[in-house]
Every structure is written in C-alpha cells, then in structure tokens.
C-alpha cells in the first residue's frame, strides 16, 4: 500500500515538473536555457529506491514525454531509463548523505542524458552537429540543474530516504557492505 502511494507520489511530482517545464521555465530561464528536472527526478528515484524502480520510472516518464512532444517514441525513454540505472549504480559506490555527492551526480547525469539524447537525435534526424553551441547550452543547463538541486536538497533528501525505507529493506546493510 505504501509502495503504491509512493509510486503515485512520483507520478504527481512528474506532472508538477511537466507543467513547470512547459510553462514556468519558458520565461524563467537562463539565456533561453531551461533546466531538466526529469533527470533529477529519475536520478533520485534510481538512487534511493533501487535499480528496478529507477529504470522503470525513467522508461515510463520518457515514454510519456515522447508521446506528448517528441518526434519519435523511445529516445527519451531509453535515455531516462539509463539515468535510472546509473542512479542505482551510483548508490552502490557513493554515499548519498553528502550534498556535494548529490550535486556531482546531478552534474554527471545531466551531461550523460543530454549528450545521449542529442547524439541519438542527430543520428536519426541527420542534424548538423553544433558541438560548441550544444556545449554552451549544456553547461548552462547543468548549472541550472545544480542550483535547483541545492535549493531543494533538504526536500530531496527527505523524500529520498522515505523512498529508500519503503523500497529497500536492507538500507543500513548496503551502506556498509
């Protein structure tokens, strides 16, 4: 029951983020660049709730985004699924108690997600690669994501540990072994 409620809450957060991305951040942006809060959401789920929920959250959110706005269904789903997997992978190797670690994880996963997404799209739709422009935009996006992570860190940590308690029975053990 608690697990179902948590999944519903994740879906609710997804909806809030979606409306922020398509409305609020169209004007609240840095030099025309929006943050990508979906990456943070999937990373946090993968990191705290484990591999299975991380990947499935990433894939489902990605599929929904593909259906809502993308040209091809599947690209965002794959990219976000990978972020969910990376989240679980990072959980095994790093501590989640430090703010700096979380920030570095957001930094890393935002870059991985956008690079993956951009290059898959570039191959499928034969883009002219604009590496310099892409790098500048990506840098701004990463900074934006990091600032948002810093602002919402207390909330992220609280929600994360609540998820961990519900989805991982062996929380303390995994941290030490």
């Amino acid at each position: 029951m608690k697990k179902t409620l948590s999944i519903l809450l994740i879906f609710l957060v997804f909806l809030i983020i979606y409306f922020l991305q398509v409305n609020f951040f169209t004007w609240f942006n840095i030099a025309g660049v929006k943050p990508n809060l979906f990456v943070i959401l999937v990373l946090i789920v993968g990191l705290f709730a484990g591999r299975n929920l991380g990947i499935s959250t990433g894939v489902v959110i990605g599929l929904l985004l593909d259906l809502f706005i993308s040209k091809k269904v599947g690209i965002t789903a794959i990219a976000l699924g990978i972020i969910g997997f990376i989240g679980a992978l990072l959980d095994k190797n790093f501590s989640k108690d430090s703010k700096i670690t979380i920030i570095l994880m957001v930094f890393l996963t935002t870059i991985i997600y956008e690079v993956l997404n951009y290059f898959i799209n570039a191959v499928i739709f034969s883009y002219t690669l604009e590496i310099a422009t892409f790098a500048i935009k990506l840098l701004i996006e990463v900074v934006f994501n990091i600032l948002i992570t810093i602002i919402f860190y207390p909330l992220i940590q609280k929600a994360g540990f609540a998820l961990e308690e519900r989805f991982k029975e062996t929380r303390i053990l995994t941290r030490y072994f």
Partner: protein
C-alpha cells in the same frame, strides 16, 4: 546542529538569489536602460523634491501646503477614482486581448484565403533546449494530416509530423531536424534553410549558389520545392551573411518572421 541548519538555510537563500539574478541578468535587454534610469531617479528624487520645496519657501510659493485638510480629502477622492479607473482598465485589457486574438485569426484567414485552412492554438511547447516542437489543438478530426504546412500571421511555422484525433505535433522550422527549400524574394536565388539549436529565432541558409547575391534584410520565402511547403510563404529576413574561404561553404543567418516564443495562433493548410 543549530549552526548547520542555519547555514543550510542561508545557503538555500543565497542560491535562490543567485538563480534569480542569473535569470534576470541573462534575459535583460541591454538597449533598454530604463531600470538604471529608475534606480537613478529613485536616488535623486528626494533631494530634488527637497530642493524644490526649499526654493518655493524662499520665493513665497509655499501657499500650496497651507490647505492640507482640503488636499487630504481631495487625495482620498482621487484614490477612489483611480481604483475605479484601474478596474475598468483591467476589463478593457481583457477585451483588448480577446479582440487581438480574434483579429489575428481573421487576418490569417484573409491573408491566406487561397488555401483551405483550419485554425488552431499552441497548447504545448517543447521541454528540451535542443529541439523545436509544438503541439496544437487541432487533429485528424479537423482534417489535419502529417506533412501539412503550418503558418502564422507573420509567416511559416513548420509542418505537422504526427496527429491524434484532437492534437497535432508540429516540427517548427527552427528545429535542428527541419530543412526548408527557400528563395530570395528579389533575386530568386534558391537555397536550403536548416534549423539550429543556437537560438529560438534563427535558421541557417546553406547550399547557397556561389553566384548568389545575398543582401542583409532581404525577404526570404518558400520555393515550393520539396513537396511539403507551398510556394511563396514568408520565412524571414536575412540577418547576416558569412563568407568563407571556400565559396561553397558560404552561409547566411535568417531571422524567422515568426517569434516562436510568442507563437499562439496558427493555421494548418489542408490542401
């Protein structure tokens, strides 16, 4: 523990301030220095008022301040009137906005009267910084099909890539995957324009003939080649021409006629 909590809260506040400053500074228009002007006048005004009052007193023009009670009553009445006027102004603004939208639709229909069209609104914008898709509120039920051309009051928007019964996904001409065959209005030189991730309103003209003469501010329109876009739809104006050592690599930047950040009403060409 207390210190940690306190410094954490301060950190969050500082980050929020930094974020807001970044957003404001990065979106500020350098040409409009009214903000600086305002700050300057806020600082200077009290001194100026003080000096004026002093001058009036010395020169005997201070009778204005004697009838203070009358002034207060008058001020109250004016405040009341002002709030009433503000209220009617707000109502007028709403009517004006409605009128503008309806006019826009009418103009669009008249302007592109030769085409069989259906009008719609943008209901969803892209979440990514690297693509340019929009979703409109007309779909297969309204006769919209993939590859149909979408236009706005100022010019070309893009083409429909997929439809549901009530919505359609539109790939705008600024999307990096988009390419449009265009001609220059005056010289009829043809080239291909491609979308870019660079900016929301710029596309790049490539495959420009070596003997083509591109002049800044020249109007560019669709050539009708390629099978998607009809001929003669305004695309934008040439903003910058970049000559390279190899003449075949020459390219130009075109500013699109449509401002995609403010795109609202569109027309889908059905025939």
């Amino acid at each position: 523990m207390y210190k940690n909590k306190k410094s954490g809260a301060i950190g969050i506040v500082v980050t929020v301030i930094i974020l807001i400053l970044l957003v404001v500074l990065s979106n500020i228009n350098i040409d409009k220095l009214s903000v600086v002007e305002n700050i300057f006048s806020t600082i200077v005004m009290p001194f100026q008022n003080g000096f004026t009052m002093l001058k009036n007193k010395i020169s005997g023009n201070d009778t204005f301040f004697t009838d203070l009670d009358n002034l207060k009553t008058e001020n109250e009445e004016l405040k009341q009137k002002n709030s009433e006027l503000e209220q009617s102004l707000r109502e007028l603004e709403i009517i004006k906005a409605e009128n503008t939208t309806l006019k826009e639709q009418m103009n669009l229909k008249e302007k592109y009267g030769e085409y069989n069209t259906v009008s719609g609104y943008v209901i969803n914008r892209d979440i990514s910084n690297y693509t340019g898709m929009v979703v409109i509120n007309v779909g297969s039920d309204d006769g919209v099909q993939p590859n149909m051309t979408v236009i706005a009051d100022k010019g070309l928007v893009g083409n429909v890539v997929s439809v549901t019964s009530n919505t359609a996904k539109v790939q705008t001409i600024v999307d990096p995957a988009s390419s449009v065959s265009c001609i220059i209005n005056t010289s009829k030189d043809a080239f291909i324009t491609k979308g870019s991730i660079d900016s929301g309103r710029e596309i790049r003209a490539t495959y420009i003939p070596t003997d083509a003469v591109l002049v800044q501010d020249t109007s560019v329109e669709t050539s009708g080649l390629g099978g998607i876009y009809p001929k003669g739809i305004h695309v934008g104006t040439i903003k910058e021409v970049v000559n390279t050592q190899n003449p075949t690599d020459k390219y130009a930047t075109i500013e699109t006629a449509v401002d995609f950040s403010k795109l609202d009403t569109v027309l889908v060409i059905l025939n």
